[in-house]
């Protein structure tokens, strides 16, 4: 059967995906343009960061080490620790919240559901559209890195960058699925945005400070940000365990969303 809900959702967001991708390309171009001066100042820049209080440093580098001597290290700190996750999460949480709760908020849910498409299929098709959107953004990010890096003569590790955007995409999809789950369970857009955003902030801090704060260390591994870059994918590539944990979380969230959405009143 034709996935009409997915195609419609993808079609609706085609323009915004182009804009998001262009913004990412521009952001990455900026980082790449700055690289020569960072590389030039080399050790002094690293020293500046090294002199920061440890907790502060951990927070902005997502708990990772700081290494400004290579493009991979630079991109890891500047792009992938903070900016890129924010962009992907804003997109994914917004899309996940509007998937079900947004249709309810705009009162379009009646016309959407009173067809021969089941509620479960609506959830899954909306999820597919979200995955598609995140995949577009991740790919745009990777392509920008590779192409712009080549143009500027910056040595971006192609395979590790690909692994990093895959992990980043999974992070986005996870939080998007959480937003979709809350929307499917409650029908409330505000809550579907706010709760995942708060959890993202909390789990970010747990992962970032987990390297320094003793009691956070054991729970650090449960943070989606730990699955994302706890293993430093810009240097070590894809981590199958982390991928498996992310995918399992996503599957559980989507199954939960289907289950919740099938048993409640809509549009009340």
């Amino acid at each position: 059967m034709r996935p009409s809900v997915t195609l419609e959702a993808a079609h609706t967001q085609r323009r915004s995906l182009v804009v998001w991708s262009a913004a990412l390309a521009a952001l990455i171009a900026l980082y790449i343009a700055v690289w020569p001066s960072v590389e030039g100042s080399g050790s002094s820049f690293s020293k500046l960061i090294d002199d920061m209080p440890a907790a502060y440093k951990a927070l902005f580098t997502n708990g990772g080490g700081v290494d400004f001597s290579t493009p991979a290290g630079y991109l890891n700190v500047e792009l992938f620790s903070f900016m890129a996750p924010i962009v992907v999460l804003v997109y994914a949480i917004g899309t996940g919240a509007s998937a079900i709760a947004g249709e309810e908020d705009r009162r379009t849910i009646d016309l959407l559901l009173v067809n021969t498409v089941s509620r479960g299929r609506v959830v899954i098709e909306k999820m597919a559209a979200l995955i598609f959107g995140v995949a577009v953004l991740s790919s745009a990010m990777w392509l920008s890195l590779v192409i712009e890096g080549r143009v500027a003569g910056m040595d971006v590790p192609t395979a590790d960058a690909a692994a990093t955007v895959v992990h980043l995409g999974l992070l986005g999809i996870e939080f998007g699925a959480l937003a979709l789950f809350i929307g499917a369970a409650t029908g409330r857009v505000g809550m579907s945005r706010a709760v995942p955003a708060a959890i993202a902030a909390g789990t970010y801090v747990i992962n970032a400070l987990g390297t320094m704060v003793g009691w956070l260390e054991p729970i650090r591994r449960f943070s989606p940000f730990f699955q994302y870059n706890g293993h430093d994918p810009m240097h070590t590539g894809l981590a199958p365990t982390a991928v498996a944990v992310s995918i399992t979380s996503i599957v559980l969230l989507v199954a939960g969303a289907v289950w919740m959405f099938r048993r409640r009143d809509v549009g009340t």
């Binding site: 009409s4 609706t12 009646d110 959407l112 009173v114 021969t116 549009g267």
Partner: protein, 300 residues
Amino acid sequence: MSVVRLSGLSKRYGSHPALIDVDLEIDQGEVFGYLGPNGAGKTTTIRILLGLLRPTAGRAEVFGLDAWSEAVAVHARTGYVPGEPGLWERLTGEATITYLARLRDDLTQVGRARVIAERLDLDLRRRVGALSKGNKQKLVVVQAFMGDPELVVLDEPTTGLDPLMQQEFHALVRETTARGGTVLLSSHLLDDVQRTADRVGIIRDGRLVAVERLEELRAKAVHRISARFDGPFDPAAFAAIPGVGDISVGHGSVELRVPEGSLDAAVKTLARQRIVDVEITETDLEEMFLAYYGASTHAA
């Protein structure tokens, strides 16, 4: 055969009872007018029928299928105009009907939709967000009828439609029943349904208080007579008319109300005097209706 069957249907929102123990059957080929003030439970009933709300107690069946657990099978045979027509503002009319036709896995509905849109004088090329309230309502009506459904459920469908379009709308309703379809038409105005409905049900504060055939309701319709006479007349003769009420006698004039069934007697009594002026008006069905069922109703 009954297309819709509600038995002991109740719905609560928290502690607020929206629908209380409703029993109703709607037969195939019938137009059923569902009347009541805003907030009485019409929309709740309708949204239960479409599987959007789950009953707290009782059962709602459509085509013998459970409206909640077999909703998809019900939807395949049902058209629906929601009370609050939420449309995708960024789509054009054409894109909207194409999307809905795809969600029903039947693209042939698009052609039919174009024909209905033409009849309703609706331009499908325009973006929904740019349409007036009336045009949005037309689009919602188009999508409800475009699949030639066996059951059409309409929640306040004529809101925002001008009189000419209402005529076209009533024609669509009649065409549906002519091919054996069934229509459930809700409104807070009797006027909206009296042109097409075979039966009406009256809901108030969540309870279905009456179900009547429209013709029976009409027979109860009261006529107001006011007459002036040249010369003396006998007020007692008017008091003897069966069912008469509200007689007021003036100087050479009389005013009274009689039920439709007593019109003949009333006119013949009048004719015994020398008449200067006479006026007979049917009291609004609406008014009468409210007199019967709506006295204690506080419309929302």
